[in-house]
C-alpha cells in the first residue's frame, strides 16, 4: 500500500512539474425518479463538473490523450459514490478542456503493486 501511495505521489509530482493542469469531468446528475419527461427526451439532465488535477493533455495528430492523477480520480469516486473509475468514465458525458467537451472513448490505468497511480483516457474531440 505504501509503495502504491508513493507511486501516486511521484506521479502527481511529475505531472505538476511537467505542466500539470486542471480539467473538468462532466457528469449528469441523478435523474428524477418517475419523471417521464427525461425518459422521453423532453427534459435535459443537469450536469455537474468535477475538477481533476493534476492532469496532462497530449494531442498529437488525430489522437488526444489525457493523463489524470489517481489521487484526483479516487477523491472524485469517494465523493460521488461510484464503484470504480471505469464506471465513472463510462457514465461521464466527457471532459472539458479549454472550453471544449471531449468524449471519453476508453480508459485504462497504470498500476503499482496492483493499485492504479494514474489513469489514461483516450479522448475524441468535438465535431466542428
Amino acid at each position: 500500500m505504501q509503495s502504491s501511495n508513493g507511486a501516486i505521489r511521484l506521479a502527481d509530482a511529475v505531472m505538476q512539474s511537467g505542466g500539470g493542469r486542471t480539467v473538468l469531468l462532466r457528469i449528469a446528475i441523478p435523474a428524477v425518479p418517475g419523471d417521464p419527461a427525461e425518459q422521453l427526451g423532453l427534459a435535459t439532465p443537469e450536469y455537474q463538473d468535477i475538477a481533476l488535477a493534476p492532469a496532462t493533455f497530449h494531442k498529437a495528430n488525430s489522437v488526444s490523450k489525457l493523463l489524470v492523477s489517481a489521487s484526483a480520480v479516487h477523491e472524485a469516486l469517494g465523493s460521488l459514490g461510484f464503484d470504480s473509475a471505469d464506471v465513472l468514465f463510462e457514465t461521464a458525458v466527457g471532459v472539458m478542456i479549454d472550453d471544449l467537451i471531449y468524449k471519453i472513448k476508453n480508459s485504462y490505468s497504470s498500476q503499482a503493486v496492483g493499485l492504479p497511480y494514474c489513469y489514461w483516457l483516450t479522448l475524441e474531440p468535438p465535431v466542428r
Binding site: A28, G41, T91
Partner: protein, 168 residues
Amino acid sequence: MQNAKDTFYEVICGRLVGVNPERTIVLRGVVRPGVLVEENELLSAIALPDCFRLEWSVAKVDPGGKMPLVTLQCSFLYETAGSAINGGIDRGRALAAMDAELQSVISALPQNSLKMNYAGLAFRGVTTAMSTNVWWSDSVFGETVVNNDRLARTTTVQVMSYQEAGEL
C-alpha cells in the same frame, strides 16, 4: 411522428412492468423499467445488457387519405450474457425469456392505443389525449447474434399513426 413514438414507448413501458416487474435497469441512479429509447439517453446508456433498447429508423409517409399515414420502424435491440452466478451458461435461456417478454408485450391486445401528446411534461404540465390512435404490427424476430460473451437479437415492429394537423 414524435407523439406516436412517445405513446408507443409509454405503452411498452407500462406493459413490460406487468409482464415482468423484475426487468429493470438503473440509469443515472434511478431504477426504472428495463426499456429505453436510445435517442433519448446519454450515449453511455446504449450498451446496457438485459434491457430492451428502442431504436427508431425508417419512416414512411403516405399522403393519400384525409390525414397522412405515418409508418415508423421500431427496432428492439437486446442482449444478455446470462447470469454471472451461473458463469453465463444460461445466456440462451435468458435470451429466450426476453424474447417471450417482448412477444407478450407487443402482441397483447389491443395492439393500439390512443395517441398522447407529452410535450406538456417539459414544462411540468400534463399529457393531453389526441384524436387518433397509434397501432402496431406483430413483431419480427431477427437472428441470434453472438457478441463476445453476449447473445443479442434485434426484433422489429412497424408502428403506424395518422399525422394530425399541427403535429411534429
